[in-house]
Symmetry: C2
Subunit: 365 residues, 2 copies
DNA sequence: ATAATCTGTCAATGCGTATTGACAGGTTGT
DNA sequence: ACAACCTGTCAATACGCATTGACAGATTAT
């Protein structure tokens, strides 16, 4: 039975004041650590607050303060484990900094509709977030595509809310991004070091930096042939989906073996998973015939078989950095017109074969 | 350069009123579709609102209304793709119903700390959510474990906020849960139909319902030996992690082949992935030596190789159902003391071998 | 024609908090 | 002893909106 529906009114600062025998002002002072409160009074108020279970009403607080102590986060697709992990990290960093966390999500389908990004952003602005953190959606090859920065600027009410961009270097109030070229180079060097000479890359939009690094890394290790590119312009997901990987893998498996690459760099691990599934389905051996390298190295990557080498993306560090930027900005420790920029190096190449702890416990029924 | 820092004040309903030559009251009426506004006036106000880019201030609105038109969602671990997908669905359903969506996330580590659940809930209550949706955290085998319902009741301010529980049948204001037994039965019947006779199950807490269904399904198909259970009480993740699967798989692979099961049911696909990885690493062939069935059948499951049969969990339907319950409750169409209960059937068994569209496009560099 | 009703608008008020300026009582400086 | 300064406290106000009750003008009923 579900019985606790008595409409117990939430205690207000006035209730606390009455109980503590002071004015509401003093309660507010105590809650905000205002210095001019006598220690004894402070104690009494705190006691009363605890006794009543008082929690300041956030709506009233934001109303009067004009800011909400909230940082909004814009994420396209939580089904992408990379974004899911990042969201998790962002929330923790934001909370640790004493801010509230507000999420706005979507799907790639919805995302591509015109106006959707704007309305997602409105959603955050309406709640009076003090800052917005968004993944870069820049698509150099689709100039008309959704762009958080423009979307924000175009909102009448958004002119004042700073935007912090994750993933690529954009001139917002701040940005934190990976050294994608370095990541690509790791992949290129690895495949070359494994003796692969006929390289290829499966990517979607925004290939340039990672792909260039990849080519460079391969070249450094003596690969002369420029890696070939497979991409799928029909894939909505800016960063490539598993399905896209599968399609690409199917095409590659269908090539005459002389033209087939023997080493593949994939934009991220899900793409790689799709590619590998397709290759296997069509009788191509992995990694004997084609070695595959992914990107991101999220925890579950190590459980893929055949195992997958992957460039380790320091998501956590990126998230902490961008939140630190936002906090610095909001506390005014920053010239308002400066852009804070952080480029972060990849953590290295993580090899799938590094087996997890083999330490089990079982139990008979 | 980042220049848009002019502190353009947000327009208020007063600004709109002035521009439209009416009182603020009328603006409020228009924004809320109050009937008593002349069509001509309504038009003028709307025009002015659009011109100024006016959006009602949500903080002020919640303050005066005493409710926030917001539904809060509590999720333990976004890194679990199942929860990530569900969160996505929940957000969409909530938005579609005209409510705002507020997320509170955590990690399993943090979750197990005492008081963490309470503070996560406080976080939602503080923002004045009108209702809370949470996944069931019931762990029959760990009676002291975190329990959203108790946590909510214990909050001084929470007595009034209805809780809706996803996943299992709990007596909150409402719940929507899968017919886990039916799901287990599908798995049992499938393995038996494949000729497997020595079955096993890898699960964590809350095995009972799925496991019982599994046994029943197997028995119906003539499997006489009761399936053995592997579990790992040290695994924090209530529903089992990939790492836990790997550990279990290692143990199973280490058994003398006479004792080894030839069919395994895993609590969900990530566990299955871990199990399979371990089996392969130790030279056990999948599915020749051991066939594995998972649970959830999230989109990327179909890209696992060797392919994995999986019980299709109608996450979307569950999410829509629970949101519908919450909305019904909040609009008063429900007896306040009634519990709305929905049991939902699994969608069937999805087979990994059903290949995705083989339709590719490639492009030379 | 007057009363009764209806329409559309508005001024006033309250939601719960943060903040300001006033002020009473105490302390220090001369 | 009086002024100048601190220290704590409080009453009053504003934040942006929704809502109520009043009211003027128009319409209908008697």
């Amino acid at each position: 039975m579900w019985e606790n529906l008595v409409l117990r009114k939430q205690p207000t600062s006035n209730d606390v004041a009455r109980r503590a025998g002071v004015s509401q002002t003093v309660v507010s002072f105590v809650m905000n650590n205002h210095p001019k409160v006598a220690p004894e009074t402070r104690r009494r108020v705190q006691e009363a607050a605890v006794a009543l279970g008082y929690r300041p009403n956030l709506a009233a607080r934001s109303l009067v303060r004009g800011r909400s102590q909230t940082i909004g986060v814009l994420v396209v697709d939580l089904n992408n484990p990379f974004f899911a992990a990042a969201t998790q990290h962002l929330e923790q960093a934001i909370r640790a900094a004493g801010y509230h966390f507000l999420l706005s999500t979507s799907t790639w389908d919805a995302w591509s509709e015109p106006g959707h990004l704007e309305s997602a952003m409105d959603d955050l602005l309406l709640r009076g977030v003090d800052a917005i953190i968004s993944w870069s959606l820049r698509e150099p090859e689709r100039p008309g595509a959704a762009d958080p920065l423009n979307a924000l600027k175009s909102r009448k009410s958004g002119g004042t809310t700073p935007l912090f961009v994750l993933g690529y270097d954009e001139r917002a109030a701040g940005c934190a991004y990976l050294d994608h070229a370095a990541g690509g180079r790791l992949a290129g060097r690895h495949l070359a070091a494994c003796g692969r000479r006929r390289l290829g890359a499966v990517v979607n939009f925004e290939t340039s930096t990672r792909y260039e690094g990849f080519c460079q890394g391969a070249a450094e290790m003596g690969v002369t042939e420029k890696p070939r590119v497979w991409r799928d312009p029909t894939d909505l997901d800016t960063r490539g989906s598993t399905a896209m990987g599968y399609r690409a893998g199917t095409v590659i498996a269908g090539l005459p073996s002389a033209q087939r690459p023997d080493g593949l760099f994939c934009h991220h691990d899900r793409v790689a998973q799709g590619v590998i599934a397709a290759l296997l389905d069509h009788g191509v051996r992995v990694p004997e015939d084609i070695a595959v390298v992914g990107f991101d190295a999220l925890p579950d990557t190590e459980y893929l078989r055949p195992s997958l080498a992957s460039v380790a993306y320091p998501v956590d560090e990126l998230c902490q950095t961008i939140v630190a930027q936002a906090v610095r900005f909001l506390s005014g420790e920053t010239e308002p017109c400066d852009t804070q920029i952080a480029q972060i190096a990849p953590l290295g190449l993580r090899h799938g074969q590094s087996a997890p702890l083999i330490h089990a416990s079982s139990d008979k029924e």
